[in-house]
């Protein structure tokens, strides 16, 4: 059992891998070293593919054979507990597709776009090396651990391996993370739809379309997902096309023209109803549509980048690595590593890698492909988002992502400020871009989604030109991002509601019942109230919201990743495989250092929530009003918001430290023990089970 079977590498494959390594090194050198002249995106694509192949073949296999010791002869939970429903041995490509569809979301598309303010190089390097040494390691190891433990969830494994208290602490952390995720993602939608009648109209149309699909699936043609999704897609495309007419007709446009505050309230109300209504009516059909559209759009983006082969217009490294950037504040370290979370390492994946995926894996030997390989695919999506953002004119990029507090609200003022930063742009270019995409303004549309949409629209337009096509592609991209973000919001609110009921059940037992209407409505209200508070705060934030909330999201997501990697580290020691402790240990320490440093700067540094609260307090005492507050009540609101954010950051830091302490304690105990102490399920040979079953 402890022997490791490795085949020696043949001469032919040695040559192939040497060639891949050389190609990768050359492409990476071009990307990293060429200065002054634009680099083509294809170099980044080629470098990424080479790095991913090498990481998968060598580091992934090293983890498989030495750290996790995956054993193809061992029966996995899907075989042992086969029930034909949740636990089903499934073809590895099907599991891979399912796993990727579950981990891919808006995160890897948004983070890299924001990080592009530092230039394309820092983001590219962090995505490539972050995924190989941290993100894919986390996903793969959590999957590997779960497969050995009856497909248990992350929370369950934490309780078992680190103790019951650690499990409870992690549960609270998870809930807080979830609320921040929902608020930030909803804010991305708000930012994309503010004063955009076209976008708002087509996103609003998804509600009746989903209802129609729900009724169709329930009563007319039960379970015909593909059929109904095609109908839904056609209707969606129709709504985008008709949106142009809505935007062009002032009487119609006025019904769909909202400011950020109104949109925030609409989303809060929507989130409540979507998660209280029966799932088949709204939530599920929207989920189907967004799942397929997501995969389709990722493919479309890949095709667009491949055929358009754009030059990167953003510099390799911009002056904003010094922490003065307009998109998010803070220096390269630690804020780059917080801003790009999902594409490099995402704590959220540990929930999925210990959720449905381990129940489907038909063999331990396939865990590397699904866990490690799935995350590499996700990183590739992040790289594509970075390329799309970096291929935009930097002036356009900054005008879209900088808050109006810095660049003002007119194209003339914005162009003047951005040109001063060294990214020369004329007001005319900004107005023309807005006109091309069918909007009245592109200024301060922060949040990544609109920037990515413009990038995608330009790439697609360059391979499929046509009158007004760019506006169509832009609104298509906005719609698809809004669609899957809203699906996350509905489903997340439901999950949050169950978590709240579980926590409430610890205090008062009857609240736990998920069937009770009172419990349902109460917990849903609490859940919507929690994320809605942060969403509303983002909508009225002086710096545009994303600037403030994205770091909080990044800190929370990396905190969860740190916890998952701590679990992997502890189990490695508990299995008495101490010599490999650094494999999960180094990324765990790195993430702890990043989250704690970023957290500390957000609590006490010059860019902190505390300082922001102080500035507003001082102004208030001096009887002044600071923008965007228009009265004393709004000033006080901003002060409270900043204090809440500072407290939450402090709680996240405390959580990381507590989990770190639990981990160190568990590790010391395990290190001293002379025998393995991990809670693995006993090995049952696959051959014995299969022969019995047949």
């Amino acid at each position: 059992m402890e022997t490791v079977a490795t085949k020696p590498i043949g001469m032919g494959s040695k040559i192939v891998w040497a060639v891949i390594a050389m190609i990768g090194a050359c492409c990476l050198a071009v990307v990293a070293l060429r200065r002054g002249e634009p680099v083509n995106a294809i170099w980044i694509v080629a470098a990424s593919i080479a790095v991913f192949l090498i990481g998968y073949r060598f580091y992934g296999r090293f983890i498989e054979n030495y750290v996790l010791r995956m054993d193809p002869g061992r029966a996995p939970p899907s075989v042992l507990r086969n029930d034909g429903l949740d636990y089903v041995p499934t073809d590895k490509w099907v599991v891979f597709g399912h796993h990727f569809a579950a981990i891919a979301g808006a995160g890897p598309l948004v983070g890299p776009v924001l990080a592009a303010q530092m230039g394309y190089l820092p983001g590219t390097l962090w995505i490539l090396f972050g995924v190989v040494f941290a993100g894919a390691v986390q996903d793969f190891m959590v999957l590997g651990l779960s497969v050995r433990r009856d497909a248990r969830s992350l929370g369950h494994m934490l309780r078992e391996e680190l103790g019951p208290l650690a499990g409870v602490v992690a549960m609270f952390g998870l809930l807080a993370l979830m609320m921040i995720v929902l608020a930030v993602l909803a804010l991305v939608v708000v930012k994309a739809l503010t004063h955009s009648p076209w976008g708002t109209f087509s996103v609003a149309c998804t509600i009746p379309i989903a209802l129609l699909m729900g009724v169709y699936l329930r009563w007319f043609r039960p379970g015909r997902i593909l059929e109904v999704s095609i109908i839904g897609l056609v209707l969606l495309l129709g709504s985008i096309a008709y949106g142009a007419h809505v935007a062009a007709t002032p009487e119609l446009a006025s019904f769909f023209d909202f400011d950020a505050k109104a949109l925030a309230w609409l989303l809060i109300g929507y989130g409540f109803f979507a998660s209280v209504l029966p799932v088949w009516l709204l939530l599920a059909p929207r989920d189907y549509l967004s799942t397929f559209l997501k995969i389709g759009t990722i493919l479309l983006l890949a095709i667009a980048i491949f055929f358009a082969a754009p030059q990167l217009q953003m510099p390799a490294v911009s002056r904003f690595i010094d922490g003065t950037g307009p998109v998010f504040q803070g220096q390269l370290f630690p804020f780059l590593f917080i801003t790009i979370a999902c594409g490099s390492v995402s704590g959220w994946h540990s929930i999925i890698a210990s959720g449905t995926t381990p129940k489907l894996l038909s063999n331990e030997g396939e865990a590397r492909m699904v866990g490690y390989g799935g995350m590499l695919m996700e990183a590739f999506v992040a790289i594509m988002a970075l390329i799309a953002a970096s291929s935009l004119h930097p002036g356009v990029y900054f005008s879209m992502n900088a808050p109006s507090a810095l660049i003002g609200t007119t194209p003339e003022h914005a162009a003047a400020v951005i040109s001063q930063w060294g990214f020369v742009v004329t007001p005319d270019e900004l107005t023309r871009t807005a006109h091309d995409i069918g909007e009245t303004s592109i200024l301060s549309r922060a949040g990544g989604a609109p920037t990515l949409a413009v990038g995608m629209a330009q790439l697609l337009h360059s391979i499929l030109p046509g009158e007004r096509m760019m506006a169509f592609w832009y609104h298509y991209a906005i719609l698809f991002e809004a669609l899957f973000i809203l699906t996350t919001v509905d489903a997340g609110t439901r999950v949050g509601r169950f978590m709240i009921q579980e926590i409430a059940g610890l205090v008062y037992e009857p609240l736990k019942s998920t069937e009770s209407w009172l419990g349902n409505v109460l917990a849903t209200s609490v859940c919507v109230g929690l994320w809605g508070y942060f969403l509303y705060q983002g909508a009225v934030d002086p710096l545009g919201g994303i600037n403030t909330l994205w770091p909080l999201f990044g800190i929370a997501n990396q905190m969860l990743a740190a916890i998952a990697l701590m679990l992997a580290t502890v189990v490695t020691v508990k299995l008495k495989r101490q010599r490999y402790v650094l494999v999960p240990g180094i990324p765990a320490i790195w993430l702890v250092v990043c989250t704690l440093t970023a957290g500390w700067e957000k609590i006490s540094g010059s860019i902190s929530f505390t300082v922001a609260a102080q500035n507003y307090t001082q102004a208030l005492q001096a009887g002044q009003l600071l923008a965007p507050a228009k009265n004393v009540a709004q000033m006080q609101q901003i002060i409270t918001n900043n204090r809440v954010d500072a407290t939450l950051t402090g709680l996240f830091m405390l959580l990381v430290l507590t989990m770190g302490a639990f981990s160190v304690y568990a590790m010391i105990k395990a290190w001293r023990s002379s025998v393995p102490t991990a809670h693995e399920a006993p090995r049952i040979a696959l051959s014995s089970v299969v022969s019995q079953a047949s």
């Binding site: 089903v88 490509w93 579950a102 979301g105 699936l217 599920a284 959720g355 999950v495």
Partner: protein, 64 residues
């Protein structure tokens, strides 16, 4: 050739359905026949509805 194409299509449909939380119906029916011959076999519509409800029971199934 035809065989491989239809197999590929089947896999694609299976992946797409699984991504929406609906496992393979045929596999479930086969499982019931082998292991629980006494139980009633649900129609695809019944099976679909049961799975649809089960998917949103609150174990975070998707990422940001």
């Amino acid at each position: 050739m035809n065989m491989t194409l239809s197999k590929l299509w089947h896999r694609l449909v299976q992946t797409a359905r699984l991504s929406c939380g609906v496992p393979d119906y045929d596999v479930y029916v086969a499982h019931l026949r082998t292991h629980h011959p006494d139980r009633k076999i649900p129609t695809y519509a019944e099976f679909f509805r049961e799975r649809q409800t089960a998917r949103y029971k609150g174990t975070g199934g998707r990422c940001c």
